[in-house]
């Protein structure tokens, strides 16, 4: 059966803008000088320079993990721009951006989304945040939402207290890389008891060729508060590779709730190597909703460390791998306190030679009694040259813990297709409907506007050939 009817098709966000007007002439390569230069340009305090340089040493010393290296060809760390500054300062009005940049964001639909349903928006272009605006009522609640560079300058005491506490610079090679050259990313602090009703959004755009984007995001939800953060990403199509290596740290204080949604749609020349981890304290809930549609290779395993009793962690993940793509995604849950619970639900679709992998770990430490975890991974393979792997892992060091894992890999069932065709659908319509149903459990957790966006991304082109 041919299923070429289901197609994310050509990458549609692959245009690029000129880099001639960038305010800082970029230099390739990674060394202490560029790290100092980045820090200097951001007028950072001394402790931050030390943090960066210390991380650089760790990056240089740290070997690439074997399983990590297996997925990747040689990365030439000296052929990447680590700092690309497109504009002088940031603005809070789209009209104040250079015209081409403004057009880019219009095409991506960010200003429209902002008008409709967002409490705050930050837009990053290469290394810097070029636009940021919060809804007026957001500030009144005491919520801080800004880019991380501004936060380092204006709220150094909070940043210093939390930065690198969930993901220390030495955590892995790419966390060390990010910690040394971080630029841009979001900082959010939600005061105790405050519920941010509308989502806060960040949009990350890589524009230049050979660019590296290393944003750093830090979100702190104080006691009893809640926040939903959404990020999207895209990049131009180049024949050379770009590197996106973010670090995201979430701190959910007792009783708080953080939902973090990612719709990743990088162009097919981006290596997306991201470390995301949350600390969930007593009775806190952290949800990672992770949509991986773009990039050449994504290696990303959002994690929740459940440190307080009754904390809850969830990862809901949808991955699509088309031609030339490898989505190596997964999740990690560490149960370090009693009565903690976690759910991992992963759905993946591989087509046209694409490869999807689920790589996960559920760890229950001794003393985390009455913990529960359930992991479910389902994969659809739509043709005979695509591939799917499932590598979950369960380490249980506690007697009173219930841990379960289930996975299935299949093609679209002939009997399902037959049933739908007997009701008058074409084969493509039937396949499309089944694929949509397959990812439905994840889609429905998204705010309506994003669900529509994701469905649009998983665009169903009904004009493919039937074989």
């Amino acid at each position: 059966m041919a299923v070429s009817g289901i197609d994310l098709g050509k990458y549609k966000l692959g245009w690029s803008d000129s880099t001639e007007d960038y305010v800082y002439t970029p230099k390739k390569g990674l060394n202490a000088d560029i790290v100092r230069e980045i820090s200097h340009r951001k007028s950072e305090p001394e402790w931050m320079i030390k943090f960066r340089l210390n991380a650089l040493t760790r990056f240089e010393r740290k070997p690439m993990l074997e399983w990590f290296a297996k997925n990747m060809p040689h990365i030439d760390f000296d052929d990447i721009y680590y700092y690309l500054k497109p504009t002088e300062g940031q603005v809070s009005d789209w009209d104040m951006l250079p015209e081409s940049m403004q057009r880019t964001y219009e095409k991506l639909g960010i200003p429209e989304a902002e008008r409709k349903f967002l409490a705050g928006v930050t837009a990053q272009y290469d290394s810097e945040t070029v636009y940021h605006r919060n809804r007026d009522d957001l500030a009144k609640t005491g919520v801080i939402f800004t880019d991380i560079d501004t936060a380092i300058r204006e709220y150094p005491e909070i940043v210093r207290q939390y930065l690198g506490t969930v993901i220390p610079p030495g955590d892995n090679k790419f966390a060390a890389l990010n910690s040394s050259v971080m630029s841009g990313g979001s900082f959010i602090y939600v005061p105790p008891g405050v519920h941010v009703e509308m989502p806060l959004q960040a949009y990350f755009r890589i524009n230049a060729e050979n660019a590296g984007q290393f944003e750093r995001t830090l979100i702190i939800a104080d006691e009893g508060s809640s926040v939903h953060y959404v990020e999207g990403c895209s990049a131009p199509v180049y024949s050379t590779d770009s590197l996106h290596s973010a670090v995201v740290e979430l701190i959910a204080k007792p009783g708080s709730r953080i939902r973090y949604t990612t719709i990743q749609n990088w162009s097919p020349n981006v290596y997306n190597l991201v470390t995301k981890r949350a600390r969930a304290e007593t009775e806190a809930t952290v949800e990672w909703i992770d949509g991986n549609l773009g990039s050449k290779l994504t290696m990303k395993y959002p994690a929740v460390v459940l440190v307080g009793p009754k904390a809850h962690g969830e990862v809901l993940s949808v991955a699509y791998a088309g031609e030339g793509q490898h989505q190596d995604a997964g999740a990690k849950m560490t149960h370090a306190a009693p009565e903690t619970t976690s759910i991992i639900d992963s759905k993946s679709i591989a087509k046209d030679g694409g490869r999807t992998s689920y790589r996960g770990l559920v760890k229950v430490e001794a003393g985390a009694h009455h913990s529960k975890s359930h992991v479910r991974c389902d994969a659809l393979i739509l043709d005979d040259h695509s591939r799917s792997d499932t590598w979950p892992r369960m380490e249980v060091d506690e007697k009173d813990a219930r841990i379960g894992h289930e996975a299935t890999v299949s093609k679209v069932g002939d009997d399902q297709i037959f049933y739908l065709m007997s009701r008058g659908l074409t084969e493509q319509q039937a396949t499309a409907m089944i694929v949509n149903g397959f990812i439905e459990p994840i889609i429905k957790t998204l705010p309506m506007e994003y669900a529509v966006e994701l469905s649009r991304l998983i665009e169903l082109n009904m004009e493919g050939a039937v074989g």
């Binding site: 399983w67 994969a379 393979i381 739509l382 043709d383 005979d384 040259h385 695509s386 591939r387 799917s388 792997d389 499932t390 590598w391 979950p392 892992r393 369960m394 380490e395 249980v396 060091d397 506690e398 007697k399 009173d400 813990a401 219930r402 841990i403 379960g404 894992h405 289930e406 996975a407 299935t408 890999v409 299949s410 093609k411």
Partner: protein
Amino acid sequence: MSTFTPDASRALPGPDWLAERRLAASERLADLSWPSTDEEIWRYSRIDELDLDRFSPVPPEQLGAPGDELAPGGGPVAAEAGERSGLVVVRNGRVVHHSLDESLAAKGVQACGLATCDRADVEGLLGACSDASPDAFTVLHDAFLAGGAMVKVPAGVVVDKPIVVLHWSEGEGLASFPHTLVVAGDGAEFTVFDRFGSTDSHHAHAGHFVDAVVELVLGDGAHVRYVSVQEHGPHTWQIALQRAHVGRDASLRSSAVALGGYYARLRTESLLAGEGAESDLTAVYFGDGSQMLDFRTLQDHAAPHTRSDLLFKGAVEDRAQSVYSGLVRIRPGAQRATAFQTNRNLVLSEGAEAMSVPNLEIEADDVRCSHASTVGPLDDEQLYYLATRGVPPEEAERLIVLGFFDDVFERLPLPSLVAPLRRSVIEKIEHRDAVARASA
């Protein structure tokens, strides 16, 4: 590696072809890289604790020899193998006794020693499976293989009663290399019961090292049932490979029972090589004391319309640990393959630990594959229900544990083993309860 030398290998007796095979392997010993827990396939294992220098190969005078008394019974489960049609007894890696019903011998069935059969009988068969999945320990095994059992059933022959192989290893500080080669001709049908046992040393740092290989070669349309029961002494190290190559429309039903050893590792692999091949792999394991029972499995689908099903169930108590790490691999072109993989673990004591790592690697689209794995304690609701019916808690635990194992017991190809297995499980639980009472 001071004792596992080419000279020690050369000192072993046996026919020239076997000596040549050993020599070829022993020359590779010096260049071997010995595994560590850094490697995924050895992760969680106790390999870093293994000091091979503490062991030396069984010297020629301590190998089993024809006329030696038969090996000790080797545990309660082995004793109840029931009726049999043939018997091969292997002591410290060499056959000391073999017998077979005359009617079967007349049909060309063989149940004998590898070292005493003709080279032509094993040519192309010995090593056919293990060479396809080598590691440092299969090379070591080949370098010191003194004999071992061979069971060969010609094409079209059906054997009703099981053929029994008893492996016994003894001698503190010694290493033995048991081998079982099972060859099924096209359309042959039979059952092999293979038991591995060793001395019950009282010294934690003495013990015995067992490096075993089991090869199962199934011709087209063959149907083989294979049960292995491991009842090693509590200080024995075992590193074993069981690998099957299953031909077209052939089926293997294999069960492994693991009860003994200090560290007992079994790599169980099935290559579904021919179209329509089937493999049913089950295991029962129960760890107590400070044991570690370690399983690595592979269901390798290399042909279309193949089917595999795996069910491994285990319990751990005291400070025991278990590892299950399994892979289902569907190779490109193995369309219409069906593969299931289930691992369930009961953790019965504070301090016991179970790891479960079920993996899928799928490179064909028209497949149905699933896996499931669980780790957890006894179900409170089941305990509560039994309590409301007046069942004392200790009795309730036994009932639930036996119930947990019931479906995998039912899939044992030898029903006569179920009763002694149930007793072994109960004994392990009772022993723990007795220790707990004594220390209370």
